[in-house]
Symmetry: C2
Subunit: 295 residues, 2 copies
């Protein structure tokens, strides 16, 4: 556990440095728009997706250096989705990571535009990611588009919208999460693996399976934290999902069963990595970390 | 003029067919989200950007076939920008092309998500555009990202937001339009030219200059139509920019001078194409068309 914390810490430092450097470069333009973009992206965050991207690159024998900028691009997508998700017409959240959400700190129109521009910028960064061939960059653009679009992340948000206040089955809840958070986590892992010039047959499938399972585990743990966590630590009012009538794993299956389900997901995620050697140890440790995290 | 109308008509038919086919393919997903995406994209429109994309491909000796899907991708970006621009927090428009805007026909949250997903889909389509090499596709992704992001189209929207109710200079108005509509028009022309395997030195620069000038001309004519046009024909209430206190060319320089300015822009746009032969005749005719159009 200690090793993965060090890895995550190092990764976060590297990612934050790249993001800060690229998002605060002096340029002419609309300062307010750029301020809103920086505010949203640089406002903390665990940088789990870039870390998974790098760890997946390491799992296929790479140093992970070439996965850093692509990981940052994925983080831009994540940041844009949070800005739009927090808008009054969506979740209407005023607090995120312990700070005012973007439309509160700026205004609604600027928040919409900042989200839009961050999405564009993600593809821009991928298209010029250093140390990769054009072929690889394009493959990454494809993965990111599939993972974040109307068949991936945005579809999950649409399902989420439709589900508020409704009685959801576990299957529907799972489908929502597979898209809403899972698809981008899968994209992060696949994009990391794409930094390798060659992959063994089956490796992408195993990594995809790992990422799918991990994405769900991440969500189950999130739901458990919403019930059991501390507002100060999780950065949003504890119980806010419950209060809003959002279906969660604990609300549908009970806390104890949700914990058991989470343990099963962890086992399956690790099982997907069976064909990998020690080079996948960081990915393994990250699965443990996701399940054990307290924020 | 008749030839360009036929070209535009044919191009619109081709583009509408591709858009309809790709946006209504049966698939599992969120039907409401996909409905909102289709509604926004398939609700008419002159398809000027795809036509410019194809005409630019023809100007560099191509048939223009390979520019159709990239042109449709650009149209997705245009459609997403209109959806978000119409939102209550932005322009708060209820009517677009004579129909209810997306957030009126659906709801605000769905409109935000439909716009988000259309942007993603544009990059998805470019990354798999038929008949092109990966190298070319990636170059197109770069152009589209630059043209539509925080240094291009979205920057223009941010300048627009900040300018409402303010006294703008002609220079500032021009900067707004160069970004808000001009950057995507430039991207359309450059992306069309990229379908050629080789370009003569200076061709991209000449085409860029043509597109920049045409983009401005398009906007000046739009402003003139807002004053002189017929609501039925232009699809939005006549005088709506004026009523909202938005700065326009006629309001800043007077109607007569705006008309003269427009004529000068047309001349310059045509001048940029001097080094091109007959293969650029469609581009030339489109410049004439943009200036003469009545809607």
């Amino acid at each position: 556990m200690e090793a993965v914390t060090t890895f995550l810490e190092q990764c976060r430092t590297d990612v934050d440095a790249i993001l800060a450097h690229r998002l605060t470069a002096p340029e002419s333009g609309s300062p307010r728009l750029l301020d809103a973009m920086s505010y949203s992206v640089l406002g903390g965050g665990k940088r789990i997706r870039p870390a998974l991207c790098k760890a997946a690159a390491m799992a296929v024998g790479q140093s992970g250096e070439a996965a850093l900028v692509p990981g940052c691009a994925i983080e831009l997508i994540h940041a844009y989705s949070l800005i739009h998700d927090d808008l009054p017409a969506m979740d209407n959240d005023e607090l995120r990571r312990g700070r005012p959400t973007t439309h509160i700190a700026f205004d609604e129109a600027t928040a919409i535009l900042a989200g839009d521009a961050l999405q564009t910028l993600a593809f821009d960064w991928l298209a010029d990611a250093p140390g990769l061939t054009d072929h690889t960059r394009l493959a990454m653009v494809r993965e990111l588009a599939k993972g974040s679009g109307h068949l991936g992340m945005v579809r999950g948000q649409a399902i989420d919208l439709e589900s508020v206040g409704k009685q959801l089955s576990i299957e529907n809840l799972e489908s929502m999460h597979r898209h809403k958070t899972g698809a981008l986590i899968v994209a992060a892992v696949k994009i990391g693996a794409l930094t390798a010039p060659d992959l063994r047959p089956g490796q992408i499938e195993d990594l995809t399976s790992y990422a799918r399972t991990l994405g769900l585990a991440f969500q189950v743990q999130d739901d458990l934290l919403d019930i059991e966590g501390d507002t100060q630590v999780i950065g949003k009012p504890q119980g806010s999902d419950q209060a809003r009538g959002k279906p969660t794993y604990p609300s549908l299956m009970g806390v104890e069963q949700a914990r058991e389900y989470l343990a099963g997901l962890l086992k399956n995620a690790l099982g997907s990595l069976e064909s990998f050697g020690n080079e996948a140890n960081v990915l393994r440790a990250m699965a443990d970390y996701v399940v054990a995290r307290t924020y």
